[in-house]
């Protein structure tokens, strides 16, 4: 690209910048439009959640997990309760499992809709973003119907759920899916096959498989690099082994495997797969079963520790919990998939133009709440 070299300029992108998806500061070295070195600075949204968790009971940790990845609170809850249940060896009944899967997959759809929409917005396409938000809104309505909250649900509890499904939820969800499925094709055509969009994303920000693995990148970003790795299949938790779905991987349709377009496309394909899972889960949903049945009166896990990982919309979300036998965790650590995704930014975006760097950042789908915690 740039052959003429001038003086380098240090530029701060953020913390208040429309394309940094929260309060992230990128310190970049620029030579005209070409960016040679990117250093992300974190901590603008650090709320000491992990430290807080050491001082509250196990139930009270759940709202903190909501606030980490605020775009996928359900899956954050899910990961945590799965970890505590493993630690305490609690088996929850089938109805709870199914409801959890329905919620997690709806959340995945909502999160991916926002991710792809904002990615379009980063490239200047305003309309697809609003169309996607419109449909995300309907998922949030479903959540509101279930637990009253629209963003931070505190819905999944250790050993159960806060509420059973409300009346009419199943019909409303099926209605939504019927409405939504054709819209996915619409999004694909509106954004994915737009000539300018392809020009801006194909062959840009290529993340080779080795780089992705070396940096510990997971989730759709890893799958876009062509590696079929999804904890729902490879290390099944809950009842994911009961469902039939595919793991979409990047194929380099418009460019090279692992480019920004692939990351976008993998997310879109995952939305389709999530729709499939939700449909199956609703079909198999047991009619009876108390959602509070296996909830312990007092959550006091035995002395010991556990590392449990689940697949959040952003990737491999891990919880490490150290229990000393009391009713508060003595240490709780989250493994954030967005953090590793941000770590790879300099590797894959260095040397590209300014516009590309922000496009690549958008394609990685980071959420600062989860990175800083």
């Amino acid at each position: 690209m740039g052959v003429v070299h001038g003086q380098e300029m240090v530029l701060n992108i953020g913390p208040q910048h429309p394309a940094t998806h929260g309060v992230l500061r990128l310190q970049v070295k620029t030579d005209g439009e070409v960016i040679s070195e990117i250093t992300p600075y974190l901590g603008y949204l650090h709320r000491c959640f992990e430290k807080h968790c050491e001082n509250v009971t196990y139930e009270q940790v759940i709202p903190f997990t909501d606030r980490c990845d605020y775009l996928a609170s359900m899956t954050m809850n899910f990961g945590y309760v799965v970890a505590v249940e493993k630690l305490m060896d609690i088996k929850v009944n089938d109805r709870v499992q199914h409801i959890r899967v329905i919620m997690a997959e709806l959340q995945r759809i909502a999160s991916h809709l926002l991710a792809t929409g904002v990615f379009g917005l980063d490239l200047g396409a305003f309309t697809p973003f609003l169309h996607m938000l419109r449909d995300r809104e309907r998922i949030i309505d479903l959540f509101e119907m279930t637990c009253g909250a629209r963003l931070l649900y505190n819905y999944m509890w250790v050993g159960g759920l806060s509420h059973d499904l409300p009346k009419g939820f199943v019909e409303a969800t099926l209605n939504f899916l019927d409405y939504f499925e054709p819209k996915i094709d619409e999004f694909e055509n509106l954004l994915g096959h737009n000539k300018i969009f392809v020009e801006r994303t194909a062959d840009i920000g290529i993340m080779p498989a080795e780089v992705a693995i070396n940096f510990g990148v997971t989730g759709p970003n890893l799958r876009a690099s062509g590696i079929k790795w999804d904890l729902r299949k490879d290390d099944p938790y809950s009842i994911y082994d009961k469902f039939d779905f595919d793991i979409p991987v990047g194929q380099g349709i418009k460019g090279t495997i692992g480019d920004s377009w692939d990351r976008f496309y993998v997310r879109l394909q995952e939305i389709r797969e999530s729709v499939k899972i939700v449909r199956q889960a609703i079909d198999q949903l047991p009619k009876d079963g108390d959602v509070h049945q296996s909830m312990p009166k007092k959550i006091r896990p035995p002395k010991g520790s556990i590392y449990s990982r689940t697949e959040s919309p952003r990737g491999d979300l891990g919880y490490y919990i150290e229990s000393d036998g009391s009713d508060t965790p003595s240490r709780l650590k989250m493994r954030s998939p967005a953090f590793t995704a941000l770590g790879v930014l300099d590797e894959i975006a260095g040397g590209w133009l300014m516009s590309d760097v922000l496009a690549i950042l958008g394609s990685l789908d980071i959420v600062l709440g989860e990175i800083d915690r």
Binding site: P18, A125, L130
Partner: protein, 358 residues
């Protein structure tokens, strides 16, 4: 020319009371005020249109007043007025590290560029402020003042984002003026004049006499001109100088209140100018599409405004549909596609004229 008409009129009316110097000054000021009024009203209308059209495209309702009080009027009609008022009342911030005189000068300069272009735009057979014999050339020339002011704004703000915006706009506008100008040469070749009124008169006699239907090369020239014009007025997909998701607001980052409003106003005014040139040069200007039908002067104004309005609508439509190009792709499109295409058009039209029209 209009100034002469007004001067004669005023002399007849007030000749006994005021000296001719004053009257000449007045007869110059009146058209200026008229243009200023026109730009303001037009900007309010097109801002409203932009809000509503974008809302229809994006599946939302847009400004919707409930018809009470000063909220936003019926159907949100008062929204642009409220926007303008807000900008007027906002605090005017000049950064302490900015180059003060240049910072203040930049918004005026961009507006002057847009403003004086209106002088040569024909709205009807006799409704034109100055019927210059180099009208087209003049508009292209003064249109370039915009780039100067954008660089000025970018430099004077003493902000890195503004600098990026200013540099991008310089590269972009200077490059795209070339295909735009070359496409208009096709019009000049066919009409044989640079005078916009004569170009429009050349297209007399119904829709098939419009220059765009003259021969198969002209529609290509029209498309090249229109897309280049989009780039010249910094509209999506070529809004790189102010690309909000990359450069915050580009050259306008540090501007607030009325100074920002001037950039805004000029953008819309420039949209009108380039659309009006396209309408006059390719689409028959104030000529009716039906020969000898609906062709009174009043209809002339209607045709001119509606043709221009349609092109502005297309610009709004594109803005809310397309993503943005990257800066090097922008340059590639200009130099590797549009420029050769424009040159081929000139040869094509020349050969076509010699072979078929002589």
């Amino acid at each position: 020319m209009t100034v002469d008409y007004i001067f004669d009129f005023l002399t007849g009316l007030l000749g006994g009371f005021l000296g001719s110097d004053y009257l000449l000054l007045a007869s110059m000021l009146i058209p200026c005020l008229a243009i200023f009024g026109f730009i303001t009203v037009y900007a309010l209308i097109v801002i409203y249109a932009e809000l509503k059209v974008s809302s229809f495209i994006q599946d939302k309702v847009g400004p919707m007043g409930q018809g009470v009080g000063l909220h936003a009027g019926k159907w949100g009609l008062l929204q642009p007025v409220a926007d303008a008022l807000k900008l007027l009342l906002k605090e005017d911030i000049i950064p302490s590290s900015a180059d003060r005189p240049l910072f203040i000068l930049a918004p005026f300069m961009i507006f002057i560029g847009a403003f004086i272009s209106f002088v040569a735009i024909p709205f009807g057979e006799s409704i034109i402020v100055a019927d210059l014999n180099i009208g087209l050339f003049y508009i292209l020339g003064v249109g370039s003042i915009a780039v100067l002011s954008l660089i000025l704004a970018g430099w004077a703000s003493n902000n890195k984002w503004s600098l990026y915006g200013g540099m991008r706009s310089a590269a972009q506008i200077v490059s795209y003026e070339i295909p735009a100008g070359l496409s208009l040469i096709v019009v000049i070749m066919l009409a044989g004049t640079l005078n916009l009124q004569d170009i429009i008169k050349y297209q007399e006699g119904g829709i098939f006499n419009w220059i765009i239907f003259d021969n198969p090369f002209v529609p290509i020239a029209f498309v090249v001109y229109f897309i280049s014009a989009l780039a010249e007025v910094n509209r999506t997909p070529f809004d790189l100088p102010e690309s909000e998701s990359e450069l915050v607001a580009g050259f306008a980052t540090e501007y607030s209140g009325m100074r920002y409003a001037f950039f805004f106003l000029s953008e819309y005014a420039n949209m009108f100018v380039v659309s009006a040139v396209a309408a006059a040069g390719f689409l028959g200007g104030w000529q009716s599409p039906f020969a000898g039908f609906m062709s009174t002067p009043a209809w002339g104004v209607f045709w001119m405004i509606s043709k221009t309005g349609f092109l502005i609508f297309v610009m709004i439509w594109l803005r809310w549909t397309l993503p943005r190009l990257r800066v090097d792709q922008l340059m590639n499109v200009c130099w590797k596609v549009f420029l050769p295409l424009a040159l081929i058009n000139i040869f094509g039209v020349a050969i076509w004229t010699v072979v078929f029209n002589s």
